[in-house]
Amino acid sequence: MKGLKSILFAEDNEHDIELTLEALSEHNLMNEVITVRDGEEALNYLYKRGKYQDRQSSNPAVILLDLKMPKVDGLEVLRRIKGDDTLKTIPVVMLTTSREESDLLNSYHYGVNAYVVKPVDFQEFLSAVKQLGVFWAILNETPQDPKQGASDSKPVVR
């Protein structure tokens, strides 16, 4: 799907990945979802390093970040993205289990665009992921990716 921006999804727990992808596919979101398993991999993807060094696609429409991940945690990834002029326009959504005040405050301090606590109830979880996907990957407008030029990248809903 050329022109349709992807969703970068960073999550270490395989069950959570499965449930989240299930939820996204449930709502027929056609954006490609790139799943990375830790913060380091997420940064590799964004900086086109390691196995992503040949990445041709534009930067993702939105990054869904888990807080607690091995190697580099979600807060650190967020801090790096928002501290980098070429990346900081990408919306970052914390998708986490933590309700801790300190996690919330830190995330907003580093400039997170949204903070969502995953509900235990699967129905609520489905609706939360749907809203997130529709809002951030489709409704939300971001500045043009400088490296991609002025290609038309309007998302498509099937």
């Binding site: 959570d16 933590s98 109830d121 699967f122």
Partner: protein, 767 residues
């Protein structure tokens, strides 16, 4: 007298005077002469015409007597030779014209009859009537008319002569005037040109020469004398001015270059003069200050003591000396000694900047005080160490140095732990780490920290053999806060309790002394010490436990919820995707799995709120309980819909507490009251506060389900319930929260109730 020729020179004027005098003299003379001549000539003419008449009468009387008119005409015609006779006639005695003569080419009218004898002048003629007498008898009358041409001719020739004389006289007079005028006007003209030269060129060396002995001579002398005086005065003035100018210059440059500030103020406090130093002291440029007033330049100066003194000096014309602190616009200040002297322009101010001197003085005093204080501090009979926040040693009492067997030189400006390391031979040495922790607490909390007795061995000096010596200390660390609240120093005070510890240990291990109370006392002291040590350990353990609890609740929030989510998620996926392969029983099981997972999620969340309530910082503030209760009831109002609930609320006080926590208390109590009175037909909820023994006692009473007092102690426990959740929903954490919050407010909670008759929940807060 009016000057007729104001612009003519004096020479011209003199000439005009002489010439006009001469002219007038000649004219008057000629006029007199002519008048006289006319009178005389007329008389001659009258005689002449009478003579002619007499001759004609002599000749004509015969012709008249004989009435021979022809003869008469002949006689008359002889008049022809007389060229001035215009006409002539002879009348008879009866008055009839007998004979007549008229000059040729003239028409003459003769009078009808003759007048009596007379001679008179008409306009241009002389007329004569004369009787012709024979022997005394008049026989007729002669009439003659003569023109006056002769008279006119004479007159004009006289005029010509007079004019010649006049011209001659004027010529002579001019010549004379030219000579005379010079002698008078020359000195005056010279005087005038001299004056002009002086006035134009300021040349006072000009003199006029004296030419005559008359008034002009005197004038010249007087003029010369006067100019000489002026010249001298002028020279004097010049010298004086130069001297003045030099003096002024000298005085200006002296003022300009003085080390002190100099300024002259006018009576209106305007800056008339100031030197560079004064400008610098005033922090304005000369250009800004000159011509402006002090009030313009330094608004508000009118209120200063300096200005009042300045005014006094200005008004009373007295010199004033003072020391003054001058405040600038930026609120900094400078000290000056001021000498204010009245001067003709206003006042002169000599100002010397003594700010540095003042500072130095203050510093010197401060330094001396400090020296005194330091000496005092060092000789104090206690063991004190003064540390900077970076833990370098900046002061120590002599007693401390003595006790730790060191000198000031060895420890000052060095780090505390470099100077006092742990005893390397003691594997259990924890003195330095404990001290570090205590100092850290002081810096974190900004308050004193009393340490339990520490074993902290000291280094023996080389002179005493080196190595470490066993020592026990009882330290207290106190912060010294600066004006901004930051820690400036830490005072470390210790007591050497080595002796005491040794004694205690000996006693604890040694044989019992049956006799002494001393022994008992020592034992008690030793026990107290041991308890203190234990307490310190427990405290540490408590802190660690708290930290563990925190990390536990964090992982509860994060790690426990994840599997729950997975349970629910996959159960639902199973139900959705494999719906057909499950029978009703299987479906029911799946539902139970989902419900349980959700329930557990809820429990975890509530538990987290509860734990947070215990950890959260209290935000103490004034809380209006009336308002809080009204708010909470508003929020609960949907629950009251379609129910008959009477709320009786009495006025509640304003208390000190954490607003959001107290709100939660009311929320729990009131929602409980609503909930447990749901099955009563007419619910009544009563809210009140009473002051009992300096405490506010709040209570909420309902007429609902109530409870059995046997189980009252379980009411406030976590997850403790007195009703099944089928009866009343809930997870049993609300009252536990109430309990915890009120405890943190140093209050109490309790409850009274009876099954089926309602319950009353009380909580108290310090008034």
């Amino acid at each position: 007298m009016m000057n007729m020729f104001p612009h003519k020179s004096i020479r011209t004027k003199l000439k005009m005077v002489i010439l006009s005098t001469t002219f007038l003299a000649v004219v008057f003379a000629v006029a007199g002469f002519l008048t006289y001549e006319r009178i005389t000539f007329r008389r001659i003419l009258a005689n002449d015409i009478e003579t002619k008449a007499d001759i004609i009468a002599e000749n004509i009387n015969a012709a008249l007597a004989f009435q021979d008119s022809a003869d008469a005409v002949r006689v008359l015609n002889s008049l022809h030779s007389q060229r001035h006779i215009i006409s002539g006639g002879v009348y008879t005695k009866n008055g009839k014209l007998f004979a007549a003569y008229t000059r040729p080419h003239r028409e003459e009218v003769f009078p009808h009859e003759p007048s009596p004898d007379t001679t008179y002048y008409e306009d241009d003629a002389l007329v004569l009537y004369k009787s012709i007498l024979v022997n005394g008898n008049r026989i007729g009358t002669i009439y003659l008319r003569m023109d006056l041409l002769e008279q006119y001719e004479r007159f004009w020739s006289y005029i010509r002569i007079a004019l010649l004389v006049l011209a001659g006289a004027l010529a002579v007079a001019y010549a004379v005037a030219a000579v005379l005028e010079k002698s008078i006007s020359t000195p005056i003209v010279m005087l005038a040109s001299a004056v002009q030269q002086i006035s134009e060129k300021q040349d006072y060396s000009v003199r006029v020469s004296r030419m005559t002995n008359d008034e002009t001579g005197f004038l010249a002398d007087a003029f010369n004398g006067m100019v000489t005086k002026i010249q001298k005065r002028e020279a004097d003035l010049r010298t004086t001015n130069e001297a003045l100018r030099l003096a002024e210059h000298r005085y200006r440059t002296t003022l300009d270059n003085m080390m002190e500030g100099c300024q002259i103020l006018g009576f209106d406090f305007r800056y008339l003069y100031l030197n560079d130093i004064a400008a610098k002291q005033g922090r304005h440029s000369k250009e800004e200050l000159l011509g402006r007033t002090m009030m313009e330049m330094y608004p508000g100066i009118e209120q200063s003591k300096f200005f009042i003194e300045l005014q006094r000096s200005m008004k009373e014309r007295i010199p004033i000396q003072m020391e003054n602190e001058f405040f600038y616009e930026d609120h900094t200040s400078g000290w000056f000694t001021l000498n204010i002297e009245p001067v003709p322009e206003g006042v002169f101010i000599l100002s010397e900047d003594i700010t540095k001197r003042k500072q130095y003085e203050a510093e010197r005093i401060e330094f001396q005080k400090r020296l005194q204080f330091q000496a005092l501090f060092e000789s104090i009979p206690g063991l004190f160490l003064v540390l900077k926040p970076d833990l370098t040693i900046t002061g120590a009492s002599d007693a401390y140095l003595q006790a730790t067997k060191t000198t000031r030189e060895k420890i000052l400006e060095r780090n505390l732990f470099d100077v006092f390391p742990d005893n390397p031979d003691d594997p259990n040495a924890d003195g330095s780490s404990n001290l570090k922790a205590s100092l850290q607490r002081v810096m974190n909390n900004g308050s004193s920290d009393t340490m339990p007795i520490q074993k902290y061995d000291i280094q023996r000096p080389e002179s005493e053999g080196g190595g470490f010596e066993e020592r026990y200390w009882s330290p207290v660390n106190s912060p010294v806060l600066g004006t901004n609240g930051a820690i400036e120093y830490i005072i470390h005070r210790v007591e050497d309790v080595t002796e005491f510890i040794h004694q205690s240990k000996k006693n604890a291990g040694g044989p019992n002394d049956p006799s002494g109370t001393d022994e008992k006392l020592r034992k008690m002291e030793a026990e107290i010490f041991q308890r203190g040590q234990d307490l310190q350990k427990l405290n540490l353990q408590l802190n660690n436990a708290n930290k563990e609890l925190e990390s536990f609740s964090y992982s509860v929030s994060h790690d426990l919820r994840a599997p729950l989510r997975h349970i629910d998620g996959f159960a639902q996926l199973l139900q959705k995707k494999y719906f057909e392969t499950l029978n009703d029983q299987g479906q029911r099981y799946l539902n139970i799995i989902s419900d349980s997972a959700r329930k557990m999620g809820q429990l975890i969340d509530e538990l987290l709120v509860f734990s947070r309530m215990g950890r959260a910082e209290m935000q103490m503030n004034k809380v209006d309980m009336d308002k809080v209760v009204e708010n909470v009831m508003l929020e609960l109002s949907p629950e009251a819909e379609q129910r008959s609930i009477t709320v009786q609320k009495k006025s509640l006080p304003v208390v000190q507490g954490d607003p959001s926590m107290l709100r939660l208390v009311w929320m729990n109590l009131l929602s409980n009251a609503y909930k447990y009175s749901a099955k009563v037909e007419k619910a009544v909820i009563h809210i009140e506060c009473q002051v009992i023994d300096k405490e506010y006692v709040f209570f909420v009473r309902d007429n609902g389900a109530g409870f059995d007092m046997k189980y009252a102690d379980k009411l406030f426990g976590v997850f403790q319930r007195l009703h099944r959740s089928e009866e009343f929903e809930g997870i049993g954490i609300g009252l536990a929260n109430v309990h915890r919050i009120i405890m943190r407010h140093h209050g109490r909670v309790w409850a009274e109730g009876e099954t089926g008759k309602g319950a009353t929940f009380y909580f108290s807060l310090p008034a």
